[in-house]
Symmetry: C2
């Protein structure tokens, strides 16, 4: 099982436009074979608080994930959990990112863990917790918005391309994160 | 003939690393079929002053372009041209970006114009002068450096994917810029 960050990204590196807009994302199709394969492989999701707030505010919360086709649990990493439980499929966790991913891995069993949101994906990457990056590259330059990666003086991270595919208008890209081994 | 911006880009959108480093670019191979096709189609190049300074400082100036395989002219857009001529293949032009591209198009004849450098590519994109974007996507997250696109509140620009290809480690991507038509 792998921890996979899974996003549709513009050619200029944004996963959301200005004001977190996601209207553009549906213009290029969403049902690529890699998207379906990734979705079917995911047994638990870890998401950031910002992702959660937007999901509740703009979509149907966790019930809207993958167009309603995701039935697993969602672990929301936040230091300010809401006062009352909202949905039995959601757990709020205030530990570190490592603990959240580990808890999600237990819940996922043999399946993969999906990492949702730019900030959380970066945190997982920095902590060496991210195994794969799945990108549906959209044929658009958004110009501004929420970037998935980079720009904060992060260290260089090598990737191995696993697959490339052409969906209708999206380009499917799957990379494996090359992890540095610590020699004792 | 088209105006084409042609770059190797990391998955996080950088065409140069910190301190303009280009060491990474050769790690993933450079001789992709799209790179050769693009190179062979280019009859003139427009470059920014920053690109020029780096080319002279770190490579062999214009003689180092495309590993020495480019024999056309280079038009460097700058308001501070050097006091004396350096190479008969280089022209310094201080007019606008439109004038520079137009001059290069005349020099290119039936061939394409290559746009080199991040700042110039953005300027051409904003001015509606860019026809195609050729990217060799490198399997790396550089974390920091010089971004090709975005982040300055630019307007959204739609693209059409022309082709996708797998080179050894690079992913070749060719897009056509969808231009807005002004209705009179």
């Amino acid at each position: 099982m792998s921890a996979i960050c899974h996003h549709t990204m513009s050619l200029d590196g944004f996963i959301a436009g200005p004001d977190d807009s996601m209207d553009w994302v549906f213009r290029y199709g969403t049902a690529t074979s890699l998207a379906e394969e990734t979705m079917e492989g995911i047994g638990a999701i870890v998401a950031g608080r910002r992702w959660y707030d937007l999901a509740v505010e703009r979509w149907d919360g966790v019930d809207g994930i993958y167009g309603g086709n995701y039935e697993g649990k969602v672990f929301v990493l936040t230091h300010r959990p809401p006062p009352s439980a909202v949905n039995p499929r959601i757990s709020f966790t205030s530990g570190g990112v490592q603990e959240a991913v580990s808890t999600a891995q237990d819940a996922a069993g043999e399946k993969d863990v999906g990492i949702f949101g730019a900030s959380l994906s970066r945190q997982c990457l920095r902590a060496g917790l991210l195994d794969e990056i799945v990108i549906h590259l959209a044929p658009v330059l958004l110009g501004d918005g929420v970037r998935l990666f980079g720009g904060e003086g992060d260290r260089r991270i090598e990737l191995d391309r696993v697959s490339v595919g052409e969906a209708e208008r999206l380009t499917d890209l799957r990379f494996r994160v090359v992890k540095l081994r610590t020699v004792e």
